[in-house]
């Protein structure tokens, strides 16, 4: 049990380093155990160093920096048990333009091996999409769904 736990821990840690570097455009992130000697009773922290800054605990980062780090952690866990389908609902909500773009790019890369669905209101995501599903409601009570071509989605009411 302990052996498997340590394997999972170091696999997530490795994945996190790679993914966070991509998502943050050059920062570093890693997991940390409060008691290296007793992993099954220790607490697990996330430390991140946004590009050009010094290391800090997740709590001391800004709102957007925290959510980017959390997303890197989720994607690191996803790589442990790869799935044929992914569904991500407005995970880009706290991110500024350039962070949202890098996340969109990563989803596009992942969609080479899996089917990826992302709910998003932002142009930065639409830019990388292969397909767009528009959702609306004319009478407030019924949802209507229609296929939009990606080029057309530029003029969707999506953002601002």
């Amino acid at each position: 049990k302990r052996k498997i736990f340590l394997e999972i821990y170091s696999a997530i840690n490795e994945n996190m380093k790679i993914i966070y570097r991509e998502l943050s455009g050059g920062g570093e992130a890693s997991l940390e155990m409060s008691e290296e000697s007793d992993p099954l009773n220790s607490e697990i922290y996330i430390r991140a160093r946004p590009k050009g800054k010094s290391y800090s605990k997740l709590e001391a980062l800004s709102g957007g920096e925290k959510s980017l780090t959390a997303l890197a952690f989720i994607m690191a866990v996803q790589r442990i048990n790869p799935s044929p389908i992914y569904y991500l609902d407005e995970v880009d909500m706290f991110l500024d333009g350039s962070n949202a773009e890098r996340v969109g790019k990563q989803f596009k890369i992942n969609s080479g091996t899996s089917q990826v669905f992302a709910v998003s209101l932002r142009k930065a995501m639409l830019k990388y999409a292969d397909h767009v599903i528009g959702v609306t409601s004319f009478d407030g009570e019924n949802t209507e769904v229609f296929e939009k071509s990606v080029s057309e989605s530029g003029n969707m009411e999506v953002e601002n």
């Binding site: 697990i44 609902d89 969609s111 998003s120 599903i133």
Partner: protein
């Protein structure tokens, strides 16, 4: 494998029958607040056999049935079916596709779920076996619902360890 289409019948904000066609690759679902985007995610979790109504943002399973302000039109039934293309090269083309359906029917004291695989009634455990064979896990992070990011950020070091233990 990939999801080929979804058919919603009276599920949440989807009145009547609606078919949504999916494609491989990267799909973005977009639209105004309250239009039904997250309901599509809920319908996927529902048809793939999720048991807890909280996970699909409903207090009771009955809340999943489409309700309108016109009481007379409200029914006591809803269903979602998903067509999966397994892309299994060892099977004949017409055998590669699987249609999984889940319906909710009214009973004496609540609602009961029925599952169908290619039209044949099956048990929940058969659905779980199918998902396992396709490597679809509902409790891992392949489904990240709206607001989950916030919960991960607020997670304590202790909860994070519990999470890693559950993956091991």
């Amino acid at each position: 494998m990939f999801l080929e289409s979804l058919e919603l019948h009276n599920f949440k904000s989807f009145g009547n029958r609606k078919k949504v066609v999916f494609k491989k690759g990267f799909t973005v679902i977009s639209g105004p607040n309250g239009s039904g985007k997250s309901n599509i995610g809920d319908s996927l979790l529902f048809v793939l056999g999720i048991r807890s109504s909280k996970a699909v943002r409903a207090e009771r399973l009955g809340d999943l049935i489409h309700k309108t302000s016109d009481e007379k039109r409200n029914r006591d039934y809803c269903s979602v079916s998903v067509t999966i293309d397994t892309e299994d090269q060892e099977k004949l083309p017409e055998e590669r596709k699987i249609t999984l359906k889940r319906e909710l029917v009214a009973e004496m004291d609540g609602y009961k779920s029925n599952y169908y695989l290619n039209g044949i009634k099956v048990r929940h455990s058969d659905v779980a076996e199918l998902l396992d064979s396709l490597h679809i896990y509902l409790d891992s992070y392949s489904f990240v619902l709206q607001g989950d990011i916030n919960n991960i950020v607020k997670m304590t070091g202790f909860e994070r360890r519990k999470l890693l233990e559950s993956i091991s």
